[in-house]
């Protein structure tokens, strides 16, 4: 018995140590990308201008799309791109930005992992004379002074478009399930916008009931389980609003399993390739589109303006657009957004 206790205590201690180690072990390799167009390099020394990109994570297609935009702009301008994958960890991200500064970046396209903890990163860049364009996840207002420009999606507007769709297509009211990602501020703003979109467009908003909020983690499998449980609890659900298309795919499957296909309207967000395909197959009804590639692309061009000594508009909001079965044919199902405003 005594022996067993010892073993158990040891195991427990080991678990703690290793889970700590696991937290700290998410180092990732630094990747450098260079392009051929040397003649466009702007530095006097002849070296290429280096641009850093600090994403939220790269294991998410949305942020991969931002990266594509950043890469395209860097190729066009002849900049060298340096980026890392912080794997959703703000401490790792801060270290990686320090590394990038040490590598001599002139500007940083920055998506903070935790907007509340962005100050130290911004300060480090300011001290090193690195221009920072904050994209997507916006920093706190009292940190604005440390930043050179902000480009973000209109998160409230994205939700509002989906809310308007519900108001238009369910004029007599609806029982609504939200598949949330409650830890992300942008999703909270987004869901608020969704309700505003409904309330501003109907006469009697009391008929629109939030029957439940489930945590889908923004992931297909988690959302699938949570939504199928919620459908058991509330067989009268009419509308499921998911905070991204990836989680909407899980909701689609859960609804299909419950034999409710066609009776429940599923709305996603992002107008991601998977979401657009689901709309074209009639499995999802609406998705509000963001422009991740455009955002990354514009971020790099803003840095190029700053490097040339020009002034830029400090706060740029990128409009959301509505994708549903009526206009799905206008979009490329395999791509995220297209970079529509080139070389401004």
């Amino acid at each position: 018995m005594k022996n067993m206790k010892k073993v158990f205590a040891l195991l427990l201690a080991a678990t703690m140590v290793f889970s700590l180690a696991a937290c700290g072990s998410s180092k990732s390799d630094s990747k450098s990308d260079s392009s051929e167009k040397k003649e466009e390099a702007k530095e006097d020394s002849g070296d290429k201008v280096k641009i850093g990109f600090a994403p939220y994570t790269l294991t998410n297609e949305y942020f991969s799309a931002v990266l594509n935009g950043v890469q395209e702009a860097c190729d066009e301008l002849g900049y060298e791109l340096v980026y890392n994958d912080p794997q959703s960890d703000s401490t790792t991200q801060a270290q990686q930005v320090d590394d990038m500064i040490a590598q001599g970046i002139s500007g940083l396209v920055y998506i903070p992992n935790d907007s509340a903890n962005a100050r130290s990163v911004l300060q480090a860049c300011k001290d090193a004379g690195v221009f920072v364009i904050n994209v997507d996840n916006v920093i706190k207002e009292d940190d604005y002074e440390l930043c050179d420009g902000i480009i973000a999606s209109d998160n409230e507007g994205l939700g509002r478009l989906s809310g308007e769709w519900v108001a238009k297509n369910h004029p007599d009211g609806a029982n609504i399930l939200i598949a949330h990602l409650q830890t992300a501020e942008s999703c909270v703003v987004n869901v608020d916008g969704f309700w505003k979109g409904i309330k501003e467009n109907v006469k009697d908003d009391s008929k629109f009931k939030e029957v439940q909020v489930v945590e889908g983690g923004g992931a297909t499998d988690v959302t699938y389980k949570a939504v199928s449980d919620a459908l058991s609890a509330h067989p009268d659900i009419d509308v499921i609003y998911c905070i991204n298309d990836t989680s909407a795919l899980g909701a689609i499957q859960a609804v299909e399993d419950a034999g409710l296909t066609g009776k429940v309207d599923i709305l996603g967000k992002d107008a991601a390739p998977n979401g657009k395909k689901a709309i074209s197959e009639g499995k999802m009804v609406q998705s509000s589109g963001q422009c991740p590639s455009q955002m990354g692309y514009d971020g790099v061009y803003e840095i190029s303006e700053l490097l040339a000594g020009n002034k830029i508009e400090f706060n740029v909001a990128i409009d959301a657009y509505n994708v549903d079965k009526d206009n799905i044919d206008d979009y490329d199902l395999d791509a995220w957004d297209e970079i529509t405003h080139k070389n401004k």
Binding site: V7, A14, A21, T220, D221, S228, S232, A233, Q253, L260
Partner: protein, 340 residues
């Protein structure tokens, strides 16, 4: 529940023993069910119970492997990552390489077995502690999964592949029992896979030399070695089996969701370890049963489904799961110390 009983149904003594042995956890399961049935309107319905069992079937399959690892006094924390990687490999082969469905299955399964082989080799032959070895393969597996997928999710549009887990056995005439009264109840084929694999695991652990050796190694490795058991080989094999089981889990989720996201399987190891431990398996090895583990799986299932149906915020679910683990282990320890 039905399948626990079937294990020992022929011998009434065995049934009595089973209930005696697992009294604490069975009582816990019953209490949880009563609480949810009384407080939550749509919990104790046939369709919800079926949904709950189906959603936890993959956990049951993983638990078959986790049980063997813990029986040997070791652990395998790479299971979730292996589920994600094998699912992703299958999706990539079918969607990006337009591979034959059968070949994709075989390769996915092989990937799972190879990860198991690496785990087993590192643990049994290189004597790396199981936690460290599987921590490493967990990291490698998740990394490769993200490399293959480039961080984006892959959809599967192959009817044969999607039928693997999408097939349902409809029970005619049960419309009245379903959640909305419109469609008849159906049993997902996933549930049948889980029951078959649990039964096979029971046979393996109770009716073969292999099982006998596992318990012997878990109870006292030195004694097992001196009695002539090839302890290294029998320490390696359970990990290979676990890898294969995880591949089955990965294929099921990929097929069920008709696509794979690179985060598939994250934290699956937590549910598997919890279920095995709640089921009365000793972390120091040597004692634990499939029957107990099934109760553990059901407790985890009831807890996550019940709290969802009740509408409790998912953040609280993690807290409750932790509390249940502590309570289960305390009951187990108290019962054991009483016996002595």
């Amino acid at each position: 529940m039905a399948n626990n009983k079937s294990i020992a149904v022929k011998d009434s003594n065995a049934v009595v023993n089973y209930f005696k042995k697992n009294f604490g956890v069975i009582l816990g399961l019953v209490i949880l069910n009563v609480i949810f049935a009384v407080t939550t309107k749509n919990y104790f319905t046939a369709s919800n119970i079926l949904t709950m069992l189906q959603n936890n079937a993959v956990n049951a399959i993983i638990c078959c492997g986790m049980l063997m690892a813990i029986l040997m006094g070791q652990i395998d924390i790479s299971v979730g990552s292996t589920v994600g990687l094998t699912g992703m490999v299958g999706a990539y082969l079918i969607t990006n390489l337009h591979c034959n469905f059968f070949l994709a299955l075989v390769i996915s399964l092989l990937v799972g077995l190879i990860i198991g082989l690496i785990n087993g080799f590192c643990i049994a032959y290189l004597k790396i502690p199981a936690f460290v070895a599987t921590l490493a393969t967990m990291s490698i597996g998740r990394g490769v999964c993200k490399i293959i997928s480039k961080g984006i999710s892959i959809r599967i549009r192959d009817d044969a592949y999607n039928a693997i887990a999408g097939t349902k056995i409809v029970i005619p005439g049960t419309e009245a029992l379903s959640a909305n009264g419109r469609v008849p109840l159906s049993v997902s084929v996933i549930l049948i896979y889980a029951i078959i694999l649990l039964a096979l695991t029971w046979l393996l652990l109770n009716k073969t030399k292999f099982g006998y050796y596992i318990y012997a190694i878990g109870g006292n490795e030195t004694a097992a070695k001196y009695s002539g058991i090839d302890t290294k080989l029998y320490n390696l094999l359970p990990y290979v089996i676990t890898g294969g089981l995880c591949a089955v889990g990965g294929i099921i989720w990929a097929s069920k969701l008709q696509g794979v996201q690179s985060t598939l399987g994250e934290s699956f190891e937590m549910d598997a370890i919890s279920a095995v431990v709640i089921g009365g398996t000793s972390m120091s090895g040597g004692s634990g049963t499939v029957g107990g583990t099934i109760i553990g799986i059901l407790i985890i299932a009831v807890l996550s489904n019940g709290l969802n149906v009740m509408g409790v915020n998912s953040f609280w679910q993690d807290v409750f799961k932790g509390i249940i683990i502590i309570v289960a282990v305390v009951i187990d320890v108290l019962r054991k110390s009483k016996k002595r």
